[in-house]
Assembly symmetry: C2
Homo-oligomer: 326 residues x 2
Amino acid sequence: MTIREIAQRAGVSESAVSFALNNRPGVSEYTRRLILQVAEEMKWRPNSAAKALGGAKAGAIGLVFARPAETLGVEPFFLRLVSGIQSALSASSTALMFQVVENVEAETEIYRRWWSERRVDGVLVVDPRTDDPRPGLLAELGLPALLIGGPDPTGTLPSIWADDARAMTSIVEHLTSLGHNRIAHVAGLPELVHTQHRIEAFHRATGAQSVTTDYSDEAGRRVTRELLTAAEPPTAIVYDNDIMAVAGIGAAAALGRAVPADVSLVAWDDSPLCRLTHPMLTALVRDTYAFGRRAAQRLVEVMDGTATGDLEDELPRLTPRGSTQE
Amino acid sequence: MTIREIAQRAGVSESAVSFALNNRPGVSEYTRRLILQVAEEMKWRPNSAAKALGGAKAGAIGLVFARPAETLGVEPFFLRLVSGIQSALSASSTALMFQVVENVEAETEIYRRWWSERRVDGVLVVDPRTDDPRPGLLAELGLPALLIGGPDPTGTLPSIWADDARAMTSIVEHLTSLGHNRIAHVAGLPELVHTQHRIEAFHRATGAQSVTTDYSDEAGRRVTRELLTAAEPPTAIVYDNDIMAVAGIGAAAALGRAVPADVSLVAWDDSPLCRLTHPMLTALVRDTYAFGRRAAQRLVEVMDGTATGDLEDELPRLTPRGSTQE
DNA sequence: TTGTTTGACTAATGCGCTTTAGTTTCTCTA
DNA sequence: TAGAGAAACTAAAGCGCATTAGTCAAACAA
């Protein structure tokens, strides 16, 4: 199935076919229709390699997740994000190259490889970090990129982000409006920028310090136990992901504390997990699918130069369920 | 960074460079080393499009997940599998094209597209079904494929599979050895082949019928409630995934039934979820990472013709925890 | 009528690589 | 020492497409 066969069948030159298929001037309306019809009949599809070779476009974007193997894949976040990304990509029939690696170093290596092999036209970068080597590298390589999850502290890459600080403020406000004044925050990985934002916003709103963790259920359990057995235990706890919140609800039960009577719990990020507990977990809901979709759209715009700078996504909203009260 | 520049720098022809870089005969050892050194210095990487265009190999394999948007991504299965696949692929520097779609029809469309655009050299197919349109299509297209999760009922595609029937038997044996004789099985989607295998094995071992569901927490809760409030409630329940088992443990608690004193529960597939409950869930553990790895290796072998037919993976093993007893 | 412009189309080139067909040099054998 | 054969290397073609530079005829202006 090549362009040449179409040309033969239609009795025109290869160039005419190329013009017709790409909606370029140079063929009459009649010939264009004829060619399109023949191509349709033959179920022709452009060979992506040939296209990429000539036009210098790969027709694909890349996404890398850097996670240690053991923390892989508890969160529904990924699939939703990927799924949203693809919903935007399918319009421009762009493919997604996806890779899971152990750490950020491996991630940068993938970027180098993809770009030098011209496998992708751009990449989506997730989980911005403090002292992140990726923006610098990507700028140096000239590989178009969009940072998902926060304005680039170095100001190098364009980004799309949700306002974690305001979201944290809204959680704290919800809790204080319920009468809580001793609130704790079980944060995630300290090296992530959005963790910093949450911690700072939490500090501004409550004056209290957060505890950082590795997002694991184990950490959620341990920190909850420590908090609840302290001299002045908090009356409300905010967890940076759903896994820790679920672990926390278990730890509270094991200590004989009633949720929400003795302590209220809030999970950052909703998932079916939050509805599996008793009581169900109050959660901060984000539309990750839509987020991924918008991110991909924005990357496409960045790639063809029609957009630069940062784009703020909609604010996550709190969905109160049984785990908060008082 | 093209092969031509390397040729110029090294003072040889482009062909010589190509021979050297691909370890083909036709250049002396001395020249080969020289060329490799120059390539190394210039940090050259082959342009994947050019390579694909000439050699008709895309250097990538494909993986499609067909899931309705709302059931996306609670399971850790996916990232683990992908991660394992990539660990095998990185050796041959093959890329992974990944796509999430709504249903099997969309999945077949992706296969058509990928193959006609020559974006992939082969695909991994997951979740074999009864009346599955995919093996037929893939055979017709001539797109190399490996079925993950069960021998192809039509005998068309080579596959890699774990023995679900024997695994089910081992679970039932474990439960009967604990003294249980009224066992129920909350199965997953009835159209999946492995569900059928489990149901049949369960029937052979116990004489009882299974209940099929959509894997959701909601279904797990509902079925558990129905089972436990029946005239002769089971003393043990086997769930086809972890989500339903967790929902089940909640439903049992809501009905005032103690686990494992009143009813024992077993989850098919382990995950951190199973350790979040009280008591922790006895689970059937599979090494999904290794499974993915082996699957990718096998697909590579299938693609270059060194392997055909089915490959049985290791048997999942039961890890008893607090939820089974008596 | 002649020259110019425009539209429709074709020929030819190149993208970066692999591969086949040649060419040259060197080594071995009789 | 001539001839054959192998080894090392080069030249050239081709993969499928996009793109640029032509070609040719019809339509237009002077």
